[in-house]
Symmetry: C2
Subunit: 395 residues, 2 copies
């Protein structure tokens, strides 16, 4: 192991990993989407960590949130300044232990990190799809992931784990492919968006579409809607932090000045933090993907789509064991939503563990170092693995 890994403050890293690609649904075998539209070919970018055991019963699928990617842990090269987005949780000896489990993470359909999305080439025109890309759903994302899991030869996944929009995917897996899921971990998520969550997403989308450089989605090859996407991301970042976190992190402290500018500069630290987050995002994310993924999240309605409006009926289809985790200061996906979920799961007689973690950082808490969460995951996965291997493979 190279020096940079030994000194990683987050513990031992999985080391250097490689992004792989799986392409399927080549025309005429296109996949049929929930909207009724067809799409193909479809490529999913994915990464794997650890080793699939002989029984193929130690696989974990991690589902990422809005702007995530397949790079959940490790480094692409020793010189990389930062590891994958959940490196604190995924690695040897970590909460999701790659010495024990075979971990898979794939970039979601509609994203821009190697999987097929609006910035991919439309084979019919040989130009990027733009808004000709069909509107996709969480169900469509999960359907595509299932193809990848089949391709990897995994019949039953030990655990599907996801936070936020990733949590929606994890829940969707449990009712769509009940026989293929031994357990589901839903972190900081909901079975459907509240009006408030939809409202924030809609304003963010409007900010992008209001940017003249968006050009109805046909901006590829020219300047993109950078200012619109910046504003959209700023809105998002407000919702990811709790009021308490904002107060503690920024308060009313000024940024690099002792007095007000009496101009429209960023006087306050919170202003320059948001501007910075917004402009950084433009470098790494596609504006159209932002539209598609947020729309999929807003459309998501587990009780509506699988239970004729009843969450109990929807979860009655599931067979998995569940771990549901919420965070006290998360106001985007508050504990209330998780409790409703847990109550419905209990009514169906499902094996469900629930934990509300005291955390002041708001929705973002699920991505931050948290020994409590790591311990919960470690214990839950060990228990499920014990049960799945009929006690012969206890950790």
């Amino acid at each position: 192991m190279s020096e940079y890994i030994e000194h990683d403050k987050n513990g031992v890293s999985v080391g250097v990993v490689e992004k792989k690609f799986f392409t399927f649904a080549k025309p005429p075998d296109e996949i049929c989407l929930e909207s009724g539209a067809k799409l193909g070919p479809v490529t999913l970018a994915y990464e794997t960590y650890g080793t699939l055991n002989e029984d193929k019963n130690n696989a974990i699928l991690i589902c990422h949130a809005l702007s995530g990617d397949s790079h959940v842990a490790g480094y692409y090269a020793p010189s990389d300044p930062k590891p994958g987005w959940w490196d604190i949780m995924v690695g040897p000896g970590k909460g999701i232990d790659t010495d024990r489990y075979f971990v898979v993470c794939s970039n979601i359909l509609g994203s821009c990190k190697g999987s097929t999305g609006p910035c991919s080439i439309n084979p019919k025109t040989n130009r990027p799809y733009g808004l000709d890309f069909p509107v996709i759903t969480i169900g469509d994302m999960v359907k595509a992931q299932k193809r990848l899991i089949d391709h990897l030869g995994i019949k039953k996944i030990l655990s599907i784990i996801g936070g936020s929009i990733g949590g929606m995917q994890a829940l969707e897996w449990s009712v769509r492919y009940p026989e293929a899921v031994a357990s589901t971990v839903a972190l900081a998520t909901a079975t459907r968006h509240s009006a408030l969550a939809i409202a924030f997403n809609e304003v963010a989308r409007q900010a992008i579409m209001a940017d003249p450089s968006w050009k109805g989605g046909n901006y590829y090859g020219g300047p993109g809607p950078d200012t619109g996407l910046t504003v959209a991301r700023m809105i998002g970042h407000i919702t990811y932090l709790s009021e308490e976190a904002m107060r503690e992190k920024f308060g009313r402290r000024l940024q690099g000045r002792e007095k007000f500018s009496f101009r429209f500069d960023a006087d306050f630290q919170v202003e320059s933090y948001l501007r910075h987050q917004g402009s950084k995002f433009v470098e790494r994310f596609d504006a159209n993907s932002f539209l598609y993924v947020t729309k999929a999240a807003d459309y998501y309605d587990l009780p509506g789509q699988h239970g004729s409006g009843s969450l109990v009926h929807a979860f009655a289809k599931a067979r998995a064991k569940f771990l549901v985790v919420s965070f006290t200061s998360d106001w985007l996906y508050p504990t209330r939503h998780s409790r409703t979920m847990v109550q419905a799961l209990k009514k169906c007689g499902r094996d469900v563990s629930f934990c509300e973690i005291e955390a002041k950082w708001g929705h973002d808490a699920f991505l931050l170092p948290n020994d409590r969460l790591a311990g919960l995951l470690r214990g839950f996965l060990a228990r499920v693995f014990f049960d799945e291997s009929n006690g012969k493979n206890a950790f």
Copy 2:
């Protein structure tokens, strides 16, 4: 009284009123602003309701919020479809009873509803100020209001009443002109903005400034930054409603359709509500004024400016009686802020009444019909008037 007034569902209206203008600080007698800049001439648009009594001790000044104006009650013409913005509270027999009190409301400095602001003509260039308009503060707004009150021959105001940014003005009056204020009513407000409130304002400002039609503020005479201002207002409207109100008002109900559009249309009611609010706002408000007024609110820091950081020291300067009101579901100016204010006032030995009103509509609650608030105001004003007139004029 004409038919439209007799049938007004909000009770008896003050009837037809007239917008008046008061101009002062004609060069070279410009006013000196907190930033150090000078400004003149300054015009304030204002309206009055009821009659100033002989002792001139029944005057009430109402301070409006971000996008308000001087038109607090009544109609400009019998054909007007809507009365002033707080007609439910201001009128004969209402919470602020125009049969008893002489009510004044003036449009704030920096706004665009008749008072001097960035869309006014800069006498030095004979063109609209745009961003040459100096950045103003809540203190500057209050200083200008004081000139109007002096002009009206009122030495001591019975009560300064304001909600939200209007509440900041009311509080500022109490410490800036202690001898001129018998009482202060601070509704749904704070002595300074939290990081969260600044964050929302900053994103809204960025949405405006990101619009190429904003042109650094020099858009007058051409198309303005309508799309940017629309997004800014949408952001605002999210913060004005509580999550509960959004859930009840919109939930996940679709707008004018039974199925998802699978396009980027407004599928949900909450989306079309926000789009509607945003586009309506463009017709009635100036984007630059939005920048100036929100910046003034973000800069506002009563303890910082009047108490060297201590709210107790700041309020020690006040002489008024206080009524502080918060609303349970207001997450922009939560009850916590009001309690801090009340505790500081008590420590200074001020006469202060506090009420947290149970209301599910969020920050907007202070503008909605509320018998509890009307009763509180009626009682508080009667008591202050009784004290001010040494018991000779009890209602």
